[in-house]
Amino acid sequence: MIQYAAILLMMIGLYGLLTNRNVIKIVISLNVLEIGLNIFIISIGFVYDGIAPILTSVNNSSALLFVDPLPQALVLTAIVIGVGTTALGLAIVKSIYQKYKTLEIDEVEEI
């Protein structure tokens, strides 16, 4: 069920990317798309009654039923790269605002 929610989030982000003309809203749409994608990737590895893939003094054996750790590791990478791209995008937004004093793409083109 949560996979449908993740796909819904992805589609909301894509719709925002296609329709918004405000630069900040475009960056936020990109983030929503990314969060949906991350949830979707994590949900691929879910197992009912599976525990988090960490050996502790309570869950102390590798013979127990774990959820799939590989999607989680890949999503860790994706989150960090998402932070990097968001920061770079916001830096571009800031320099656009300093130059044109507006955040709307349409008004930038007119000047």
Binding site: I2, M11, I44, Y48, S62, G84, I92
Partner: protein, 247 residues
């Protein structure tokens, strides 16, 4: 009209994904992932036929008790090196776009921070830094690691920046710390090539699963990543909250 087209397009794409994955034999249903068929089994059992027991197993193939860490920093460490490079390049891009050669001053905040806010944030600063260091140090045993720990350290810096409109970190020190941490990561990888057989090989003893001092180079690399991520994001925060001094 354009919005309608975008709406139809997104709905179509969403339905396409749902129908492609529904009742697809090669794609496991939600909650029924078969780990025995996946490569993850190798990561969980650490390639041994005997069960790995927390606190007992000596010298496993990969040391960390946190299996996600053993994937991120041990099995796929080269991947993580690339990820750290991407973060470095994006920090470089932010510095190129927003930084300037001349003197810089703090950007005007919309509110005047008062005395209580300044002192309170200083008190919180130490606690947040300590949590970040703890999360970084225990990355191979508990959830967390270098990336969230570094982000916590950077968030402590952000707190100081927001609560005090005169505050500026010594950004030169962060740059040096970042370069040293990044270089040491590559040097440790090359040491693996020289001492053992391949790049980023874990050449130190793995110890007992679950000990703080275990799993060889994994905690060292995670500490370096924590320092690097923390200083990089702090540098980005400084870039965003400063502007060129008016001539």
């Amino acid at each position: 009209m354009k919005k309608l087209l975008a709406f139809v397009l997104t709905i179509g794409l969403g339905l396409l994904i749902i129908f492609a994955l529904d009742a697809n034999t090669t794609f496991d249903d939600f909650g029924f992932a078969n780990l025995a068929e996946r490569v993850s089994t190798r990561y969980i059992t650490k390639g041994s036929n005997v069960d790995i027991i927390f606190g007992q197993t000596l010298e496993p193939e990969s040391g960390p008790a946190n299996i996600v860490t053993s994937i991120v920093v041990d099995y796929r460490s080269f991947d993580t090196l690339g990820e750290v490079t991407v973060l470095f390049i994006s920090a470089l891009g932010v510095a190129l776009l927003l930084g300037s050669a001349g003197a810089q001053k703090r950007m005007e905040l919309n509110f005047k921070p008062n005395f209580m806010l300044r002192v309170g944030s200083r008190a919180l600063f130490g606690i947040i830094i300590m949590t970040g260091v703890y999360v970084t140090l225990h990355g191979h045993l508990t959830p967390g690691g270098g990336f969230p720990g570094g982000a916590m350290i950077a968030s402590a810096m952000l707190l100081l920046y927001l609560a005090d409109d005169e505050f500026r970190a010594r950004i030169k020190g962060f740059k040096i710390l970042e370069s040293i941490a990044g270089s040491l990561y590559v040097i440790i990888g090359l040491l693996g090539l020289v001492v053992a057989t391949y790049f980023l090989q874990n050449f130190l003893p793995n110890g007992t699963v679950g000990d703080l001092l275990s799993s060889g180079i994994v905690p060292i690399i995670y500490i370096l990543i924590g320092l690097k991520v923390g200083s990089e994001i702090s540098g980005m925060i400084d870039n965003f909250l400063t502007e060129e001094e008016a001539q």
